[in-house]
Symmetry: C2
Subunit: 114 residues, 2 copies
Amino acid sequence: MANQQTALDTVFHALADPTRRAVVSRLLTGAAPVKRLSEPFEMGLPAFLKHLSVLEASGLIHTEKQGRVRTCRVDAARLAAAEGWLAEQRAVWQGRTDRLAAFVESLNPPEEKS
Amino acid sequence: MANQQTALDTVFHALADPTRRAVVSRLLTGAAPVKRLSEPFEMGLPAFLKHLSVLEASGLIHTEKQGRVRTCRVDAARLAAAEGWLAEQRAVWQGRTDRLAAFVESLNPPEEKS
DNA sequence: TTGTTGGTTCGCCATATGGTGAACTATAGA
DNA sequence: TCTATAGTTCACCATATGGCGAACCAACAA
């Protein structure tokens, strides 16, 4: 699972940037070539390509070159991995607060609210 | 919402490190003082404190000092914010694939599978 | 009062990140 | 064939990150 941990590292790191989150959001509505993706942003292409490579290294997107255009598409499974970790954590926390609530109730039996 | 975007930046960045994720996980089972939290890790206290301050800056944890011990506790709402963004994205993607499936079906009417 | 313990601060270091501009390659189209 | 376009690579820069050791402060305990 050390591998998985590294995967979470790179996925969360990739998402920790508004440009990259915007790209992911955009790609979720459909694949797109690099230039089209880069248009909404102020930065130059080299900087934008770095963002793309961070995203690709994280597995959040895959790219494929055909002729002179490179098409990018998102890998929703990776997003799900991040969401999964968070859901796990929430489950732990909810379990704890549920037990806490039960404990408090056991100390202080709930009154019937009329 | 620019503020929220910044909040997502810091939350995802905070989660992009195994040490910090472990601390969050640990704190979800209950509050703890700094030293106890730091014990499982190899690094020195100064380095560990930096991780804590990253977590605190992101709002994922809050700390409070009483006497000479500083107690840390998690803020589950921030975790939920990150999970919320991911859930939103998944909804977009699912909406798209649902529409895609509908479109494909409209082209190629489904056969009744016996 | 004198240790010991929990935490903090400081200066330092190596590396990673996020951006730039300029030069370059390779394909598509006229 | 010529040219415009999509993308890539390179060298460079400023700042952020993640770690260290050493010195330091403050509070509890003996």
